[in-house]
């Protein structure tokens, strides 16, 4: 038998592929989204300039104020980095706030403090990673729904924190720990630097490493990933450990900010972190998301709170407005990328 395939005469539908739609280009939608978010951020600053020119129009005032904004964003920001990974992989972690509390308590017990700052830091990180490991095992190998497993952890971890601290606020006088929040390099507090470094590392991990690729893959289609030879279970587990580790880092930040560890720390962080990630363009259904977006999401929230405070708005008004801003922030992006079929679909969800 013989095959006669004349060399492809007319090179098929190349002509038909109209000029590469900007939208089609890889990641460009993310770029657009992030641009939109930066716009929102600038808008907030402008509002600040009108409402509190004394702060936002004096160079030093603005700088000082923004340093505060960043310090406030640090702990939640680090947590959001971990959360972004988890959500991109199609999971969710409700226990971040509680793990932070537990880690902060553990690393400030008299016993721990007696070993000095190094051990305190280690304790926080270890507790965080361990709690994350429990989450991961339950979800990846115990096959629990992430929502439930981490919800359980959220409840238990807080209980444990309370039990250890007996609801006392555990003060630390360790100069090193305290310095993290108070001392600055070029006017930037250490914790802010840590926050930015963690974010940068997160970006590299997600976009430049096989770990990141696997994360996106299992989020996009776990079955396909499995059939491509990716160890979905292991990867899933590691992601929750990562998230837990971030909680540990955040715990150290909070301790250094408040000179103490308490079982009431980090309340409501879970929702804030998830919200920041989603506003940053991460799909709750998994498979898509960016660290930069999440970073912007966190900054926006932090900046909003700051605006409220410097303008002395009462809480009730704050809340009402806050809801509005969230909606607007997202609508702005949707409007830019509205032409995306898959966005539409997931938006329906």
């Amino acid at each position: 038998m013989s095959t006669t395939i004349e060399p492809p005469v007319d090179v098929h539908d190349r002509p038909r592929v109209t000029a590469q739609g900007f939208w089609q280009r890889e990641g460009s939608d993310h770029a657009k989204r992030n641009l939109a978010l930066i716009g929102v951020l600038l808008l907030l600053l402008i509002i600040g300039m009108f409402t509190r020119p004394d702060i936002f129009l004096s160079g030093s005032g603005l700088w000082q104020n923004e340093v505060v904004v960043l310090s406030q964003a640090s702990s939640i920001g680090v947590i959001t980095v971990g959360m972004t990974f988890v959500i991109i992989a199609g999971g969710i972690d409700l226990s971040v706030g509680a793990i932070l509390a537990l880690a902060s308590v553990w690393c400030t017990t008299v016993a721990t403090q007696s070993y000095g700052p190094a051990v305190m830091v280690f304790a926080a990180l270890a507790v965080g990673a361990l709690a994350g490991l429990v989450n991961g095992v339950l979800i990846a190998y115990g096959r629990l729904v992430a929502f439930i497993a981490t919800l359980a952890m959220m409840v238990s971890a807080r209980g444990l924190a309370q039990n250890i601290s007996q609801s006392h606020t555990q003060i630390t006088n360790d100069p090193f720990i305290r310095s993290l929040a108070s001392d600055k390099i070029l006017g930037v507090p250490y914790i802010v630097l840590i926050f930015l470094v963690v974010t940068a590392l997160g970006w590299v991990l997600l976009n430049r490493t096989t770990f990141g690729r696997r994360t996106v893959a299992i989020g996009g289609n776990p079955e396909a990933s499995r059939l491509a030879g990716i160890n979905v279970r292991l990867q899933t587990m590691l992601l929750y450990v990562l998230s837990g580790l971030c909680c540990g880092i955040a715990a150290i930040m909070v301790v250094s900010q408040t000179w103490s560890g308490s079982n009431t720390n980090g309340e409501g962080y879970e929702l804030s972190a998830i919200a920041a990630a989603i506003i940053g363009g991460t799909l709750l259904t998994g498979g898509r998301g960016t660290i930069v977006g999440s970073l912007l999401g966190v900054l926006i929230f932090s900046q909003i709170t700051n605006l409220f405070i410097v303008n002395g708005l009462p809480l009730d008004i704050q809340r009402v407005i806050n809801g509005g801003i969230i909606v607007v922030a997202v609508l702005v992006q949707q409007f830019r990328v509205g032409s995306f079929p898959f966005l539409k679909r997931t938006a329906a969800k």
Partner: protein, 507 residues
């Protein structure tokens, strides 16, 4: 008719004319625009320009509902069922018989049962949750859905793709019944022989344009149809098969009495490097399960899989891949693709680790490698940075196969590799597969298309009810004998598996 998607003109001036009571076939390469066209007809996409005349007067369907009201029912290329609902509910989804919002369940079940009867599958329980049906049964259901509306025009987008031989015959029987009632049918398929058998007239699309309209389906020679589709002439044939060889060196894959209760029982086979082994059988005979078990995607209860003389850990895909086994699974969307991700990342999904240095990926190289592969597969559009979602069915299939052309694969498991792939691309795929074999890769091929197995494979295994019932060099078999083997005598051997079937299907 014109329809553009961001980056593509899917339809670029198409004419189509369908008469009542005829079976009008649509032909075209992957990405020619067939599905898009019928989606426009079905009111899923709004056309950019052009007009639809329905029974004389011009119409425009804003949404699927409008089209259905007008009497256009559609079976889409991709299964469109809701797993959580019962067979009956799926069939009547969107137009449930109801009394004041309350579903008339009994009449719905009865209706569904009647349709299933008509489809020749009374054994599918109308109350069963669709999620629990095998792929084959699902296809029947989505056909039933189309029939559940009394349509004037029935559109079928590659319905036969997932059907086995006898099912196709069955499908044709139904289609003939419909046309006898004066119902028009638009039939899309990449299998020319089907078009010969069922079609009345043919319209050919290429690159979103009509290149030939209303040819006679019976008489127009293949050559012409193909050249209209592809702009070149391909004989629908298979690459040269090296004269029946006797493999001296040990087989690379050796499977010994593998068993997965309820799906297949003590399957033993081996594949040599450079050999293409085809497995054929009815849908549901357990071929996919065998492949999946070899690949470690399922954990067989007994039996061993040896790759290059080393045992491969049971039920561990990672181990299989490391041992040099690759698989192109059956259901590309749910089992193989990251639809939102760019093409190149899908191609390198199983291999990006190999391009990585110390855990850091190398997107640039991945892209160039992927580009070579997609070019060799003649993927279109060729831009590897597009999301796979925007590819046509057949082109998506090429991406799946392409994944294992990165090298490093010693054994390739192909489950229905040419499902939904057009004639031209098929021939190319066959070439690719053969080339791989010549490079020493072993290939284990599952296909419901007997001619394909016979044409491509060196050796053919026939499966029936989860057992290998016959093995012979492809040269010594012809289609009819295979078909007989596939079905005949089943009543006798069928017994031995039925013993462990019940808890099997549970598994």
């Amino acid at each position: 008719m014109v329809k553009t998607f961001p980056g593509v003109r899917a339809l670029d001036g198409v004419q189509l004319e369908v008469r009542a009571g005829e079976v009008h076939c649509l032909l075209g390469q992957n990405g020619a625009g067939k599905s898009t066209l019928i989606k426009v007809l079905a009111g899923v996409h709004a056309p950019d320009s052009g007009e639809i005349r329905w029974q004389g007067e011009p119409v425009s369907f804003g949404n699927p509902q409008a089209a259905m009201k007008a009497g256009i029912a559609t079976i889409y290329q991709e299964l469109d069922l809701v797993d959580g609902l019962s067979v009956a509910e799926n069939m009547y989804l969107g137009h449930e018989p109801n009394a004041g919002g309350f579903v008339a369940r009994r009449s719905m079940r009865r209706g569904a049962a009647a349709i299933l009867e008509r489809l020749g599958h009374p054994e599918i329980p109308a109350a069963r949750e669709v999620g629990k049906l095998p792929a084959a049964a699902k296809q029947i259901v989505s056909m039933g859905r189309a029939l559940s509306r009394e349509a004037r025009l029935l559109i079928m987008d590659e319905p036969s793709a997932v059907l086995a031989h006898d099912e196709v015959e069955n499908l044709f029987r139904i289609v003939r019944g419909l046309t006898a009632q004066g119902i028009a049918v638009i039939y899309i398929s990449h299998r020319l022989d089907e078009i010969r058998e069922i079609g009345d007239r043919v319209t050919v699309l290429k690159d979103g344009r009509t290149t030939a309209a209303n040819l006679d389906a019976k008489t127009t020679p293949n050559r012409e149809l193909v050249s209209r589709m592809t702009g070149r002439t391909i004989e629908y044939v298979f690459p040269e098969r090296p004269a029946a060889r006797t493999f001296t060196e040990a087989p690379i894959l050796r499977v010994e009495n593998l068993t997965l209760p309820g799906r297949f029982a003590d399957v033993s086979l081996d594949v040599h490097g450079g050999e293409i082994v085809g497995i054929t059988g009815l849908v549901g005979s357990g071929r996919s399960e065998v492949l999946e078990s070899i690949y470690g995607a399922r954990r067989p209860t007994t039996g061993t899989v040896e790759m290059l003389g080393k045992k491969v850990r049971r039920g561990d895909v990672g181990a299989a891949v490391r041992a040099g086994i690759g698989m192109a699974p059956e259901e590309r969307k749910s089992q193989a693709l990251l639809l939102g991700e760019p093409i190149y990342r899908n191609v390198t999904l199983a291999g990006f680790a190999r391009f990585a240095k110390g855990g850091f990926t190398d997107a640039g190289r991945e892209r160039t490698v992927a580009e070579d592969i997609t070019r060799s597969l003649d993927l279109r559009p060729a831009d590897v940075r597009r999301p796979v979602r925007t590819l046509s069915g057949g082109n998506q299939q090429k991406v799946v196969v392409g994944r294992w052309l990165l090298g490093g694969t010693r054994l390739l498991l192909l489950d229905e590799p040419t499902r939904g792939v057009d004639v031209g691309a098929r021939a190319e795929l066959y070439q690719v597969i053969r080339r791989l074999a010549d490079e020493g890769v072993g290939v284990l091929l599952v296909s419901s298309e007997v001619p394909e197995v016979l044409g491509l494979a060196d050796r053919v295994l026939v499966m029936r009810e989860g057992r290998l019932v016959h093995e012979a060099p492809a040269g010594e078999l012809d289609e009819d004998t295979v078909l007989d083997l596939v079905m005949a005598g089943s009543l006798l051997d069928g017994a031995d598996l039925s013993s462990n079937t019940p808890e099997g299907t549970a598994a």
